[in-house]
């Protein structure tokens, strides 16, 4: 059974209405993006099931659900567990498929675990949906990482996919399975190719999952940040509320089926980002250091995304500027540091 009203057509003007009373499932829902999405969906009046493996190093944090713990159904299980998946995907209208192994370095050290989670589990989720809930909308959290080193900037969706690490290769396959299940079986699938995201509820324990979070933590602790190389590397960063909004648009609007979309924002160099953090926090410093060889070999040169496709089709654009987003982020961790440090 699918509760989406097949008569209502959702558009960039009314897409938030799609979630009132809807049944949604978020894989990786105790993680950074998943939890922010859960908070927003609860606010919009959705019934939310959060599934998370709580693998200690993957980003899940129960404090991320603080404030909505009694409003969501929490199911701790691994996306590699097909039986639990089968039960969970029944009768849901929307699946936000965010569970994944996202560390690039880990994927090189243990490529088989990355394969299990980022390929096999994605295939398993899609197969289960095809069998027990073929009308569900599934939005996949893809990544700009799959483009590898850009041939041109800003990178649009016509750029070649040429990943520089095992994680990127497997994430590319994971995305393609989703799109294939649209072309081959008519399923309602789509993917967002996320660029760097930042904001409240991010993993701040170490630098395996994000550079920006790690920079900010060190600066908030008054420490010296080490920036690899000359610090001029360009990156675009999306504040988490903008990312959440993109997921909500893609899931609700039917024209997205079978499509993938870049996100993106105005680019800043690593030094500019760190200097802005230092200014806003009022302490900390930085120093340029040599690239460690294991990181250098899989690192990516300047990147920023062309988000023209999602702007044209879905009316999305980044609304929170880096300065404002960082202010909110600092405020959050100032209040809740003990749950993230």
């Amino acid at each position: 059974m699918n509760r989406v009203n097949s008569i209502t057509v959702y558009t960039p003007q009314n897409y938030l209405e799609a979630y009132v009373g809807s049944h949604t499932l978020i894989t990786g829902g105790a993680g950074f993006l998943g939890a922010n999405l859960a908070h927003r969906l609860v606010q919009l009046g959705a019934h939310v099931t959060v599934v998370d493996s709580m693998v200690p190093t993957y980003g899940g944090n129960m404090f991320n659900l603080e404030g909505i713990r009694d409003k969501v159904r929490l199911n701790v299980s691994d996306v590699r567990d097909q039986n639990s998946l089968t039960w969970l995907v029944q009768d849901v209208d929307y699946i936000f498929n965010l569970a994944g192994q996202i560390s690039h370095l880990d994927s090189m050290q243990d490529p088989f675990t990355d394969l299990e989670i980022n390929c096999r589990s994605q295939l398993a989720l899609l197969e289960v949906c095809r069998k027990v809930n073929p009308k569900v909308k599934v939005v996949y959290a893809g990544t700009r990482q799959i483009y590898g080193n850009p041939d041109y900037l800003p990178v649009d969706e016509n750029h070649l996919v040429r990943p520089t690490d095992v994680n990127g290769i497997n994430k590319a396959a994971g995305e393609r399975y989703h799109l294939l299940y649209h072309t081959a079986y008519g399923m309602r699938t789509a993917s967002l190719r996320l660029t760097n995201c930042y904001g409240p509820r991010q993993w701040m324990h170490d630098n395996r999952l994000t550079s920006q979070g790690w920079f900010l933590r060190q600066i908030m602790d008054g420490q010296e940040v080490q920036i690899f190389g000359d610090g001029k590397l360009l990156r675009d960063l999306n504040y988490v509320d903008d990312v959440t909004d993109a997921f909500l648009r893609v899931a609700a609007i039917e024209e997205t089926n079978g499509h993938f979309f870049n996100l993106g924002a105005e680019p800043f160099s690593l030094v500019e980002q760190v200097e802005l953090m230092i200014e806003l926090v009022g302490k900390g410093s930085y120093r340029l250091v040599e690239w460690p060889p294991d990181k250098k070999s899989i690192s990516i040169s300047d990147y920023y995304g062309n988000y023209g496709k999602i702007r044209r089709m879905l009316g999305w654009q980044p609304r929170i500027h880096l300065r404002e987003g960082l202010k909110r982020t600092i405020q959050y961790y100032d209040a809740h540091k003990e749950h993230y440090w």
Copy 2:
């Protein structure tokens, strides 16, 4: 130990000399391309180890090694078996990595087996090589299938990779692992993106692995071939000796490391191919029929490859015209039909 003489530089003029006394390993070596390569390598004076899983439906056929059975080392084992791999890849100079699940329809019906063979096993082979024989040259048998429906013709290596089935997605990942092990670890890897291949020693039991082989078998049996659609679909076909020659060039010439290359040939419509077969065999007929839905949903429109890159870098071009190649193929199956039908 790596026996490749680091002083000798092999070029498009002398590449065949690389194999005299070399130690080579062919995965999938009892299959169509693998066995033809084994015959050629034995002829060139190489020490050849053939590894094949002999999974009944995957294309391996012991008769393919007829005539060289006492000149090759045959090891029946599965590329999913990492222990046997570890032993096999030691002390070899060249690995021709041709083992794979190649049925597109099978990959949709059992995507997990396709994933095991075309992703996990490739990763396992590369990891094993990195650990016990990091200097070995590995040439991967990729496929034009990963391009999906072409945006333009002929398709060159800058075309987007956009597979239309699980097999294509996994083959794309398998190829990328190979290229990654070059960029990340400096290993000597390369890939050939094969187009349709035909010739002696091909799987002729059914139409799961090749359309052309199945057409030819039916015509040689005096039967009526069913061509899906209007029969105008364009395909380029490489005769197996040309394909073998491409593998030998890529493996021997150092400049190929980290590269992938299209093969290709002059395109013919399905009707033209079948009419030529009927003319050469002197019997058989054909009829146009509707596409079956399960095949249609993953089918690919007109395709032919631009092989300019391999021609420029390695001097390769197809030398056996379709008419000549089909003649040799018909002659082979006339003599050995009982081992293939």
